[in-house]
């Protein structure tokens, strides 16, 4: 195994197999993955902070098997911050918190290309600080259909006084978020609210939207997955890479930008590649910053 050592904040970290191409059909090595995460670190770290990380590891690259890892590996360096998360069976589980650059680089050295986090912080696992609508297009639908649904959602929720933020999933879908940041909110609230919204959307746009999980219902429609609003679920973190042929990023968009891009009718135009992601983030700042700050109360519950 080829090893290189780096030192970050005075901590020595071994890096292995840097030359390994983890996106073979595009050509993107582990060194380039680490470089991406180093560049995006100032933007992604606030969104990973204090959240129980789920690793989605691709040790042999995006074309081979992956595995999820929720438990923080026992071989972690002593300085990796962890939290204890209660589980169904009552036994707490130790999870990793990515709160600094060295932990991020350590996680990426494990080929955890995708970083998934819950909607709540580890210290208050029952309090979602946002509500999400995970827009997932069926086989014959595209990200453009998701954009149509997202824009209706934005208008609908804005009439209820709720500000929304959108990011690409980095795959075929879009994620619409409502920041809440109130200690009183529960997953029961966000689930009830999002489920009701999804039902109304389906009722008014039956040809475009389904709120049902069954695959057969989804075909040419956009599935509004409201059930992600659950303590046990995770979402891919904003600015995380995705494991598909190209190193595409789950990236935040301004609503106006989404409207323009969707108007051009090119689904690929909505995808943000790694190189573009870093330069866009530096130029525009963190479009998801309000996700961590804005306090909103879900009305009519």
């Amino acid at each position: 195994m080829n090893r290189t050592f780096v030192e970050i904040s005075g901590r020595r970290l071994p890096l292995s197999n840097l030359e390994k191409d983890l996106y073979p059909s595009y050509g993107f090595t582990k060194a380039q993955i680490l470089e991406y995460y180093r560049g995006i670190a100032p933007f992604i770290l606030p969104h990973l902070r204090d959240r129980a990380l789920t690793f989605k590891r691709y040790p042999e690259g995006v074309e081979k098997d992956f595995f999820f890892e929720k438990r923080c590996p026992g071989h972690r360096p002593a300085w990796v911050k962890t939290a204890e998360i209660p589980q169904d069976d009552g036994e707490p589980m130790t999870v990793c918190l990515i709160n600094d650059l060295e932990t991020l680089i350590w996680a990426e050295n494990l080929a955890s290309l995708e970083l998934h986090v819950p909607l709540a912080r580890a210290g208050s696992p029952g309090t979602p600080d946002s509500m999400v609508f995970d827009l997932d297009p069926g086989d014959q639908a595209t990200i453009l259909d998701c954009a149509r649904v997202a824009l209706v959602l934005r208008d609908l929720l804005s009439r209820l006084g709720l500000a929304t933020y959108v990011k690409t999933s980095g795959k075929k879908g879009l994620h619409v978020y409502v920041p809440l940041n109130r200690t009183e909110t529960t997953f029961e609230d966000t689930k009830t609210f999002s489920k009701t919204v999804a039902g109304i959307m389906q009722k008014h746009y039956p040809d475009l939207v389904t709120a049902k999980m069954a695959k057969t219902e989804r075909k040419a429609k956009v599935f509004i997955n409201w059930s992600q609003n659950d303590a046990s679920k995770t979402m891919v973190c904003v600015y995380s890479l995705r494991a598909r042929e190209k190193p595409i990023v789950s990236f935040p968009l301004k609503w106006g930008e989404l409207e323009n891009l969707a108007g051009l009718g090119d689904p690929e135009g909505l995808q943000v590649l790694h190189s573009e992601a870093v330069s866009k983030a530096i130029k525009k700042g963190d479009l998801f910053q309000e996700m961590l700050l804005k306090e909103q109360k879900l009305p009519h519950l």
């Binding site: 002593a78 204890e84 130790t94 039902g199 709120a211 409201w226 009305p299 009519h300 519950l301």
Partner: protein, 261 residues
């Protein structure tokens, strides 16, 4: 892929240091069941319940208390607990070598294997061999999952095993168990000795199996063939469902949204 280790580090004494990983040595044969709601087969989840307020308590309202007398508690924070937890160790430092026969099996807690990591294979083999020939076990202190354990490292069939040992203060005394010594009749003693002699065999654990587990697995297989498994419901949306106020507000907003599009 290689077996995921529970811990990795080095095992060391005097000038020897061998990189190793700790893996489990036991896969309990326990058959476990999920708890389902008999009405709809949903998986049930546990909630902490406050009998006083008669409601579910969210995690952020849960604190730890040590009961000193019935109903009276000393509160302990996670930080305080952490302050007394030992630092994670990177080495298993053997402090002495002992004869394993001197260790009463009552001290044995949990067995693991030690697997050599890259580069440590040769030194590992050597230690396995020497420890086997000298019939000695290494005694070490070692931190695993925030607890410091006394462990015995032994050499088996070409591999090192690590057994966590109980601390002597954990062992309950047996003094009160053995009855007052009486006179043993010679005839009685010989009769028992003879019975034992007739039953002596070599230890062959493969002869024995967990009969209940096997019967249980057979029963499950038979039942699975006989009848399709019950299914947990998918969490589904019923149309028009939701808090009436919210539904009304959304319908009203939707009307305006559609008008403006």
């Amino acid at each position: 892929m290689a077996v995921q280790g529970l811990w990795s580090g080095t095992i060391s004494f005097s000038l020897v240091a061998i990189p190793v990983r700790l893996v489990k040595a036991i896969e309990p044969g326990h058959v476990s069941f999920h708890l389902l709601h008999s009405k709809d087969y949903s998986r049930l989840s546990r909630r902490m319940f406050c009998p006083e307020e008669k409601k579910t308590v969210p995690p952020e309202e849960i604190v730890k208390g040590y009961e000193i007398v019935p109903g009276k508690y000393i509160l302990m924070t996670d930080e305080e607990l952490e302050s007394v937890s030992p630092e994670r160790s990177r080495t298993i430092e053997i402090v002495e070598f002992i004869d394993m026969k001197e260790v009463d099996p009552i001290y044995y807690d949990h067995p693991y294997y030690l697997v050599p990591s890259k580069g440590g294979e040769k030194a590992y083999q050597l230690l396995v061999e020497v420890m086997r020939r000298t019939n000695k076990a290494g005694l070490a202190k070692f931190v695993l999952a925030e607890r410091e354990y006394l462990v015995a490292i032994t050499s088996g069939d070409g591999a090192l095993a690590l057994t966590t040992l109980h601390y002597s203060e954990e062992i309950l005394p047996d003094e009160d168990i053995s009855p007052k010594k009486g006179k043993i009749e010679v005839g009685e003693e010989n009769r028992i000795k003879k019975s034992i002699g007739q039953m002596i065999e070599d230890f062959n654990p493969g002869k024995y199996a967990d009969g209940r587990r096997q019967k249980l697995m057979d029963l499950l297989a038979a039942k699975a063939k006989e009848k399709a498994p019950v299914e947990a419901p998918e969490v589904e949306q019923e149309e028009g469902e939701g808090p009436p106020d919210l539904v009304a507000a959304l319908e009203e907003s939707m009307r305006k949204v559609k008008k403006n599009r």
